[in-house]
Amino acid sequence: MSAAETSGKIEYSDSVNRNALIAVKAHLIAGLLVFLLMMLGGLTMRAAQGTWLEIGADLFYQIMTVHGVGVVGAAVIASTGVQWYFLRQYVRLSNGIFWTNFIIFLTGVVMILGSIFVGKYGGAWTFLYPLPAISMGAWSNGAAALFQLGVLIIGVGLLILYLDFGRAILARYGSLARALGLTQLFGKEPVDYKHPAAVVASTMVLIVNFLGIAAGAVVLVMGLINLYYPEFKPDALLMKNLIYFFGHVIINATIYASVIAVYELLPRFTGRPWKTNKPFYAAWFAIVFMVMGVYPHHLMMDFPMPSWALIAAQILSFGSGIPVMVVTGYGALMIVYRSGIKWSTTAKLLVLSMFGWGAGVVPAILDAMITVNRTFHNTLWVPGHFHFYLLIGLLPMIIGFTYYLTGEGDSKEETKTVDNLGFYAYLIGAFMTSMVFLASGANSIPRRWAAHLPEWVGYAQVGTVAASLVVIGMLFFIVRALVSLPGASNPR
């Protein structure tokens, strides 16, 4: 097969393209708005822990639950928007399916919101068995069930979308191995530097999320059965394994879906193409297994776990993220270095995301070491590491892509003051938020505590200030998106 055939772009009719662009914008705006609301929730939690705000413990845990599930949902829906936008240029995807997933997603969101704020469910987004069933009166069985049904529904919507990805990728490349570039990696086909990175990344995301959703479909229903038929007591450790497999894979995959924006956009701004090559394929092949194999780092304190699984998880966690991070970070540097790139806010955000992702991996790896985990397990170190790479890695990819869609990335004008204000408020706030969490964790402050001891309150107060900065930055971004995005035409 010739290079032109593997990398050629798909043609759609104008009306289909218009509709697709609207759909992508809807995903981004929905995602960003949810992010903003959830950040306000985060701010509230920090202020409550800092004693600047008085809220009951039940409300704290409801906010913590909605914050967790909300940001994961927003990350999924927004990163899906990014991914779909680029993937459809290489394989023929259906607008109808994309919208279907969006509608199903919104339905699930309504169910989840109902379960939390009407039903008072506050058992965290991880719905860890048997907690949902033993609320001691804080919420009803029905509320816990509604929450899990909402998650299940969202999973079904995503499943539909991934089946469409799979269908389209198989139609064009014949097998997932070929789409991942494995035939080139193992010398069955000559290396095609134009094989789209978007296809490689999407195939990886498709595989892991499909399996994640499969595990979720089983474990969510088992949890539901337990709610209504308490004599059925599934093995708690097996449930925990499946839940964390599902949760870890889904949230992790969002960053691998969004990084497509870096592959596609940075070359645009510098005129140097992103060339796929063997190390690139090898890294993405490895990450398929790593993303699925590292979840036991959540179970390091569960002594009945077989130790081989924990050791494997520790080793994989060391390596996890590194391969793709390295090829991406290195590739991005090579593209940007002395390219005379114009530092639009879009470009700044995308480069920031590389930093956030790379640096955020460090505290994550530390925590995935069994000896360190003994001390840091369930301290604020954990929120520290993931807020780092979600706030400074994932979100800048998504926001950067949103800016690109408004036309900012290609515009010849100087960056606007509002954009600069937003960018730096966000950057400083997000960095501080994460560092305060990490520092708190290093000082053994536990996570998921509604009320903090007097000696911890100072940290939470600094965290509150940091959070306000993030919110201010995000407000700038959102206003910009709401003003410029709806009318923007597709960047050519």
């Binding site: 079904v156 539909i160 089946l163 198989l170 139609a171 014949g174 499969a214 089983v218 059925f232 599934p234």
Partner: protein, 189 residues
């Protein structure tokens, strides 16, 4: 003498054999053969019967079964019913429930055979995953439940069935993964 067997009669013959009382007793004496041999066999027979139906029957039905949706809903309803333990118990104990089983499950097979190929490939994928998940969920339930689900079958029987379901589900998952990963187009476009 020259003997010609029309292919269409094979499923009917198989149905008759399964319905013979000794065969029936033999397959229903254990939960495993009841659920994993007899019922699937009845469904497969239905599937082939559906394939052998005269052309114009299908055409008559077509407007009622656009995209195969009606047929699938029908099939899933029957499937769900026969997954209830009390339905199996009734089939062992009462002749009319047994009769109902011998009619509805082949009917489900017919509906599947007619409707599945018409179904949108995405819907096929969702249903396949759902069927797979049902295997795993039921297997897990049969293994972990403290009590017998069927009055007619032993707890040990239930445990073996649970293990077999999990095994079958795992084998299915592995083959499916290998097939999409390493080639052969399995989803038609």
């Amino acid at each position: 003498m020259h003997l010609t067997i029309k292919m269409e009669w094979l499923p009917v013959a198989a149905l008759v054999i399964l319905a013979l009382p000794p065969m029936q007793k033999f397959l229903e004496q254990s939960m495993v053969t009841h659920m994993l041999v007899q019922i699937p066999a009845l469904a497969v027979i239905g599937w082939f019967l559906g394939r052998a139906l005269p052309e114009n029957w299908g055409n008559q039905l077509a407007p009622w079964n656009r995209w195969g949706i009606t047929g699938m809903v029908f099939a899933i309803a029957i499937m769900t019913y026969w997954m209830l333990p009390r339905a199996l118990d009734a089939a062992v104990a009462e002749w009319y429930a047994e009769l109902a089983k011998f009619i509805t499950i082949p009917a489900m097979g017919i509906a599947l055979g007619v409707s599945w190929p018409q179904l949108n490939p995405i819907a096929q994928g969702v249903l396949k995953l759902e069927f797979w998940a049902t295997f795993m969920r039921l297997g897990w339930l049969y293994l972990d439940l403290p009590d017998r689900l069927c009055a007619n079958y032993l707890l040990s029987d239930q445990r073996v069935l649970g293990q077999l379901l999990l095994l079958a589900g795992s084998a299915w998952a592995i083959t499916w993964t290998l097939r999409v990963t390493f080639g052969t187009r399995i989803i038609n476009t």
